[in-house]
Amino acid sequence: MATQAQAQTLVEILREDERSLLHEWLEAQLESTTMRSTLLTRSELQDQSRRFLDALKAALDHGGLDSASPAYEGVRQLLEEMSTARGRQGYTPSETATFVFSLKQPLFARLRERFKADAGELAATTWGATLLLDRLGLFTTEVHQKGREQLIIRQQEEMMELSTPVITLWDGILALPLIGTLDSARTQVVMESLLQKIVETEAPIAIIDITGVPTVDTLTAQHLLKTVAAARLMGADCIISGIRPQIAQTIVHLGVELNDVVTKASLADAFAIALRRSGLSVQRMKDSSASSIRRVRPQDQEAEG
């Protein structure tokens, strides 16, 4: 029997006995250990299942058993929506695919009824239906995976934006607190944003703080040195601060030359030297008994006096 005829048989079965088929399918889904009643109510599931059956009927009618044909556009769209929604709710791909696979049991039971006498026909039609449902089930998995990949890409982009703030510590003193591992792509962004900010603010001193960088390898060190060299070419001095003991050991073991660069253990030390170079100094106010508000706002004191 041609696949077209098999498809017709399936459509007939789906039409004839829709109500009880749907009921059995739902039961199978609800029974399966992968079903999560907390995330999806029975009525929602019923609605999804009915829509899937309707779409499947229409597709079988026009496109036969070939799930790649344009007639299956509706089915694919439905599965895509469903898989995306479930993926967001935290379903695993196999849980989502079970939605499609669990249709096999009630469907095949009906096929058995129908082709009681003809074992060859039963096997052929069952095989055709299995292939179709398998492909549709795998399709939900693919959609799930694609959704995850998009999520990863988006998060990468967000991380890229988040992780490169250039802070103005003082007039003419910039700070770049680096957090996370430095790879080539990130360093490029970091470097460009620092240099751009140097141009904008005309700050002659920039502090690169690597307290948040977990490990420094030769590549990271080279990236840092390049940034420092580029800033120097533009006329700004860089100070590298926040070098942890472990990292200091690594740098020396790796043989990285940081001779031309001023390095400080903490951001505070780096800021102090930056202030000194700018001709500024920090002084404790004489009237230390005054309230903290006054200390912060000396102009008020003057006004009162």
Binding site: E192, I198, E202, K226, L233, M234, G235
Partner: protein
């Protein structure tokens, strides 16, 4: 042929590169500037490259050479206003211009030159005593 103007201000020479450098222009600047440093007995040279948007390895090396030649002729040299893209390119090309002094803009550059001139004047005065 177009030339890059060299302005004299007291003991300073000002070179502002306002056009995109090509190789011949860089060569002629090198000749003009060395001549001018000698003839004007300049003690300081400020090269403003803030309008320079594109560099290649040749122009990068020319900048380094010009700065080194000025130093040989006993003129303090500072390169000012390098753009981020140019700085990154030079670093990636492996031309970190070691020994060339830099500043963010003309103002900072002039302040730097002035400080250095004052310094060297003091030293000369000390030496003559």
């Amino acid at each position: 042929m177009e030339r890059i103007p060299i302005l004299k201000m007291g003991r300073h020479l000002l070179v502002t590169i306002q056009v995109d450098m090509h190789d011949r222009l860089a060569m002629s600047l090198q000749d003009d500037l060395t001549d001018r440093i000698v003839s004007a007995r300049a003690k300081a040279v400020l090269i403003d490259i803030s309008a320079l948007e594109i560099v290649d390895s040749f122009i990068g090396r020319m900048i380094a050479n010009i700065a080194a030649m000025s130093r040989v002729l006993d003129a303090q040299t500072v390169v000012v206003g390098m753009r981020p893209a140019v700085a990154i390119t030079l670093v990636e090309l492996g031309l970190p211009l070691k020994g060339v002094r830099t500043a963010l803009n003309v103002e900072h550059g002039m302040a730097l030159l002035k400080a250095q001139l004052d310094n060297s004047d003091d030293r000369d005065a000390d030496a003559s005593h």
